[in-house]
């Protein structure tokens, strides 16, 4: 793609991304506004406190929660557009500080989970091609479906019970330690690995049926060479798409995994923001998720031509990739 054609393309993509993010923010706002209650009333109207509605009205007014929804939305989105994420109604702290605290742990977990998923998927895929056809390959081909049908929280609970509580390999009180992170990543990564493995196996099978593959095999190449050189690369393109799609799954899955493993992260922040109706935090988190999706999709688009020379040629010829 030439520089002249890339710049308008990039600008268009960036414009789309901004619209998506603002829409995500507004949509969250709309959803929350139709729910009953607000975080201030939820906290103060606890029967423990004995407040009357008249007493809490000035506090609700302080946070602007008594204003018409459109006015609240306009104030929030204008602030958001200037990069101000607001203050958490629950924690009385800037949302940006809370996000910065939570992000690193989730990035480490999601990154490790993706690595785990890729390694597992590759191992299963390789086994599906290399093991004895009758039993070995059959088992390898059943594994993804089996892993997909077990919810990640069950995997998480089993891992915690066996490896933390019985074998003592990690402590629930130190969920960010290396061992705990690996097990949390396993819980999060196993269902993702299954999806990737399924796609990969289908593509590997397709490539294995091609003539060039038969020629390579006739030349006497070893199975591992065949797999690495001739089978894997042409099968990788759909895997890139799968990875891009899986990022969302990792973000969503982190909510459950972080809660079960007691890790502080974006997922657990979502959980507490939902439970306490902490609007500013929730809106910022949804926007963050939108940003991640936009970036991941962009990255996937840019990766395709690198993996597939045909797409590179098409791009060079000015045709849409």
């Amino acid at each position: 793609m030439s520089r002249q054609s890339f710049l308008p393309f990039a600008a268009r993509r960036l414009g789309h991304a901004l619209v998506v993010i603002l829409l995500a923010y507004s949509f969250t706002f709309l959803i929350i506004s139709v729910l009953p209650g607000d975080p201030v009333s939820n906290m103060l109207l606890d029967p423990e406190n004995g407040f009357t509605e008249e007493e809490i009205a000035p506090i609700i007014a302080h946070y602007g929660l008594d204003r018409p929804v459109l006015e609240q939305w306009w104030r929030a989105i204008s602030r958001f557009a200037l990069g101000d994420l607001g203050i958490s109604l629950r924690a009385s702290r800037p949302v940006s500080a809370m996000l910065l605290e939570a992000l690193p742990s989730t990035l480490v977990l999601a990154g490790t989970a993706m690595l785990v998923a890729l390694l597992l998927a590759l191992a299963i895929a390789y086994a599906s091609q290399s093991l004895p056809r009758r039993w070995g390959q059959g088992v390898a081909r059943v594994l993804p479906a089996l892993s997909l049908s077990v919810p990640s929280f069950v995997i998480g609970l089993v891992l915690i019970q066996v490896f933390a509580f019985q074998l003592g390999l990690f402590r629930i009180t130190d969920p960010n330690g290396a061992a705990a992170t690996v097990f949390a990543a396993l819980a999060l990564g196993i269902p993702v690995s299954a999806q990737i493995a399924e796609v990969l196996i289908a593509n590997l099978d397709h490539e294995a049926g091609q003539e060039y593959f038969a020629v390579a095999r006739a030349r006497g190449l070893r199975l591992s060479q065949l797999f690495a050189r001739h089978q894997l690369r042409p099968s990788a393109l759909p895997v890139v798409t799968m990875i891009a799609v899986s990022i969302g799954e990792l973000l969503g899955g982190s909510l459950i995994t972080e809660t079960i493993f007691g890790r502080k992260g974006v997922g657990s922040l979502v959980q507490s923001a939902v439970v306490t109706q902490d609007f500013p935090v929730l809106q910022s988190l949804v926007s963050l998720a939108a940003v991640v999706f936009v970036l991941v999709n962009l990255a996937a688009d840019l990766l395709y031509p690198l993996l597939d020379p045909r797409l590179r040629r098409r791009a060079a010829a000015g045709r849409p990739a």
Partner: protein
């Protein structure tokens, strides 16, 4: 946690039971200094701001980080802490607090009259300019002001008798914070680094909603006088770690990864106890769990229907089905340890025949479906489980079945806090509202009977009931605890006889499930732990 998940953990932990050895010290051992206590807690979500931001969970952390003006024990008795003594006028409307010399906040500033007065002022009035409400339980409606007399004396005045003032100073939310902490900007209030107390522990590290690590303060020497241990804390460190799932808290405790887990479901206690783990349910002052009856709800203006409900509930069955021996039977609407609690068990006796008779008298006849009806009206209503009480749903499930036996169809609704507030609060079609309220002074009972003086008006009678008006007035204006106790007993009897409050079970909001190695801890009247004197047995 869904049952399936719990069952899975139970199944998996079966083999762990064989591996782990019970670690219970059977003999008394000397106090040991040092060691780290790990405390698993279900939430630290409310943040670290002022007043109502202190909740049932963060209140336990604050109990170690900060001091209170007085210590209130499980009998509601106030004893010296930061205030070494106090004077009160005959009319109970003016109090002079005499502060002890020496205490300082962790930032080095003194815990003096200025700091104490500023704290009281903020509890009483809040600060709406920073979005801070007043403290719910503080007697704000009669509060006049606080005056610094000198470095160690504060005068606090009220417009009329306020017997509850001194006990309220031992409430888990009336924690003393440094002046700098009180004056933080709205967006800084939740920053625990800047919320400074004067307690036996100081902050070492924390992560929002995840953990708080406290370290012993070596120069601490101003703990509650009533407690045996004086001087610095014995424990070197306390780690509060959030583990949201109760079954995982229980399993971690069982595996020895923590010493204390807060609030495990009652039915999971038995296997833990079998392995030497103790369940400590400290007596806490307040109302028992139960329902306030909305007399404006359809049919519930009829005292016979309310009384029928009172006798249709088998409280022993609730204890046997949902709870363990750690829960005591209820005898009135106040917790068993409240000094003013009367034994009115006879009024709460399970007597379905009496319920049936009362309902028949009121014209409610059983239909073919077993549900009573009067003309075209069916005796049926929605029963909302309290989202604030973990065991509420299980208790209500039992109650629904018990009511069914006398022909009352209650439909259990389980909703979240926001929905509960929207659908139950101020909704006169809902007859029963589940109550969970603690207090440190039983004068609070007077506030709930009517709507006089911003009263809570639990029974929606406003000021239409002469007896309740008189009782509320007498409780509010009492200047002598003994005579007020008599009025309070009369109030309990009247409310129960009239079926205006239907008690169900003892309210146990803080259940400390802990290893046998934890020794020497104390509890406040609200059931909040104080680990100043705690140590870990080897």
């Amino acid at each position: 946690m869904p049952l399936a998940r719990r069952a899975l953990l139970t199944l998996l932990s079966g083999s762990a039971a064989l591996l782990a050895a019970p670690a219970v010290a059977q003999t008394a051992s000397p106090r040991r200094s040092g060691g780290e206590l790990t405390f698993l807690i279900g939430s630290l979500d409310s943040g670290w701001g002022l007043n109502e931001k202190v909740d049932s969970y963060t209140g336990i952390v604050w109990g170690q980080l900060a001091d209170k003006i007085v210590h209130v024990d499980d009998k509601g008795e106030a004893t010296p802490w930061i205030a070494e003594r106090w004077e009160e006028n005959a009319g109970q409307s003016e109090f002079i607090l005499h502060l002890r010399a020496g205490p300082s906040f962790a930032d080095g500033s003194p815990v003096d009259a200025r700091a104490v007065a500023a704290n009281i002022e903020l509890w009483a009035r809040g600060d709406t300019s920073r979005g801070v409400g007043r403290l719910g339980l503080f007697p704000s409606s009669t509060y006049k002001g606080s005056e610094v007399l000198d470095d160690r004396r504060v005068r606090v005045s009220f417009t009329r008798p306020t017997l509850s003032f001194i006990p309220t100073l031992g409430y888990h939310k009336t924690v003393l914070r440094s002046l700098a902490s009180l004056n933080l900007k709205a967006e800084e209030l939740g920053n625990l680094d800047r919320q400074i107390g004067s307690g036996p522990f100081t902050l070492q590290s924390w992560l929002e909603g995840d953990h708080v690590v406290l370290r012993r303060r070596p120069d601490y020497n101003w703990g509650p006088q009533a407690l045996a241990h004086q001087g610095p804390a014995s424990l070197e460190r306390i780690t509060f770690k959030v583990v949201k799932d109760a079954a995982i808290r229980a399993a971690a405790l069982q595996a020895g990864q923590a010493q204390i887990a807060l609030n495990i479901a009652p039915h999971e206690l038995r296997p833990l106890k079998a392995r030497g783990i103790r369940a400590v349910a400290p007596d806490s002052l307040g109302f028992v769990s139960g329902f306030s009856v909305n007399t404006r709800a359809p049919f519930f203006d009829d005292v016979r229907l309310r009384q029928a409900l009172q006798h249709a509930i088998d409280r022993q069955e609730i204890l046997d089905t949902v709870f363990t021996e750690d829960w005591k039977p209820v005898t009135t609407l106040l917790q068993p340890n409240v000094p003013e609690a009367a034994d009115l068990s006879a009024l709460l006796a399970y007597d379905p025949e009496k319920s049936n008779r009362l309902l028949e008298e009121a014209g409610w006849q059983r239909g073919a479906d077993g549900i009573r009806a009067r003309g075209s009206d069916k005796l049926r209503f929605n029963l909302f489980a309290s989202p604030w009480v973990g065991t509420s749903k299980q208790v209500d499930e039992v109650i629904v079945q018990q009511l069914q036996k006398v022909g009352i169809a209650a439909r259990l609704q389980v909703v979240d806090i926001a929905t509960f507030n929207a659908r139950v609060r101020n909704n006169d079609s809902v007859p029963l509202r589940e109550i969970s309220r603690s207090f440190l002074d039983a004068g609070v009972v007077g506030n709930v009977l009517t709507d006089a003086d911003r009263g809570d008006n639990w029974f929606k009678l406003g000021q239409s009931n002469e007896t309740l008006n008189r009782l509320a007035q007498d409780i509010a204006t009492a200047v002598d605890r003994r005579s007020r106790a008599e009025t309070l007993k009369e109030a309990q009897r009247y409310v129960l006889e009239q079926g205006l409050f239907i008690p169900t079970a003892q309210l146990n909001q803080r259940l400390y499930v802990q290893a046998g190695t934890v020794k020497g801890e104390a509890y406040s009247g609200g059931g909040y732990a104080l680990y100043h004197g705690a140590w870990l047995d080897a």
